[in-house]
């Protein structure tokens, strides 16, 4: 399957990023996103439902039920191998942007 190279929105990006190391529930994703972005990015419920639905359709993430009996929230999301590739490609793209920008800003090129 060909991986789309178009930029992800901040919401999509942070949702994928918050699932990179372990599955998480919707509320956890929202809290981690707020923390990671220094309070700049908040993912509201409508945005969260739309983004998770769309990424499940694309098979970037999937639902997973928590096996932990203490877990109040049973519904977790986890990254699929495809989703992981999409995120890693996006990180590479962003890094290219930043690297290029820094070269220009330091007067190295152009």
């Amino acid at each position: 399957m060909k991986i789309r190279n178009e930029p992800l929105t901040e919401s999509y990006y942070y949702i994928l990023l918050c699932l990179y190391n372990k599955p998480n529930h919707g509320y956890g994703i929202m809290q981690d996103t707020e923390k990671l972005s220094g309070g700049q990015v908040v993912i509201g419920s409508g945005t969260m439902y739309g983004a998770t639905s769309s990424m499940m359709n694309k098979e970037w993430i999937r639902e997973k039920l928590s096996q932990n009996p203490d877990d109040k929230r049973k519904r977790l999301y986890e990254l699929t191998p495809l989703g992981k590739t999409v995120l890693e490609e996006e990180i590479k793209r962003l890094k290219r942007l930043i690297d290029g920008s820094e070269i220009v800003i330091r007067g190295g090129l152009l």
Binding site: T9, E10, S11, H25, G26, Y27, M30, V42, I43, G44, S45, G46, T47, M48, Y49, G50, A51, T52, S53, E63, R73, R75
Partner: protein, 202 residues
């Protein structure tokens, strides 16, 4: 029961944000929405609480997952209309951040939601326009005044809907909404004329 109030307020889809503002204002004045609808809404009188309201449009939802995602962020689900609008509320706080009071927190997802109903309305508008052109052509080539008037009515509806969509697009571009024909007048008037023609065709 005397503390239940029914309001017969009708909003066009492109006025959904006005409906939210009106619900917020009603809540401030002690009227709390308990059932939202396309043609009438029910409120309960209670001045001890105050909520903020949000409307969502989505015809394809997984109801359990959908409600979970709203409830975990403090949104209480109120009800849904037959055609895919969902009402939510959250207790109002004075120090509420703007993002906390919105269910769509980025432009892309907000536009996706608006596009879902705008696409549908656009199709309806094309239908009205086609009917209008067909009837008017038919009317002026000898089919009679009734057909011509029906064509004009469909044309009026097509213009009403088109202006609504244009105003939505203008608002998205950060401009003033611009001129719209109130749907609350245009639709009843059109249907009265159509029924009149069907019953007493001239």
């Amino acid at each position: 029961m005397s503390h239940i109030v029914t309001k017969y307020d009708v909003y066009a889809a492109w006025e959904y944000d006005k409906e939210e503002q009106d619900l917020n204002a009603a809540s401030k004045n002690g009227l709390q929405l308990i059932k939202g609808g396309c043609f009438h809404s029910k409120f309960i009188k209670n001045s001890n609480v105050r909520y903020i309201y949000q409307l969502d449009y989505n015809t394809r939802i997984d109801p359990i997952r959908y409600r979970e995602i709203f409830e975990e962020q403090g949104w209480e689900y109120i009800n849904s209309t037959f055609n895919g609008w969902h009402y939510f509320r959250k207790p109002y706080r004075e120090d509420m951040e703007e993002q906390e009071a919105k269910i769509y927190t980025d432009k892309q997802s907000l536009y996706e939601m608006q596009n879902r109903w705008m696409r549908l309305i656009f199709l309806v508008d094309i239908l009205y326009s086609l009917m209008s052109v067909l009837y008017i052509m038919h009317g002026i080539t000898g089919a009679g005044y009734s057909i011509l008037v029906e064509g004009i009515v469909f044309g009026f509806l097509a213009i009403t809907v088109a202006l609504g969509l244009i105003s939505m697009k203008r608002k998205r571009a950060g401009k003033e909404g611009g001129f719209v024909i109130p749907l609350q007048i245009a639709f009843p008037l059109s249907f009265l004329i159509l029924i009149f023609i069907i019953l007493f065709g001239f």
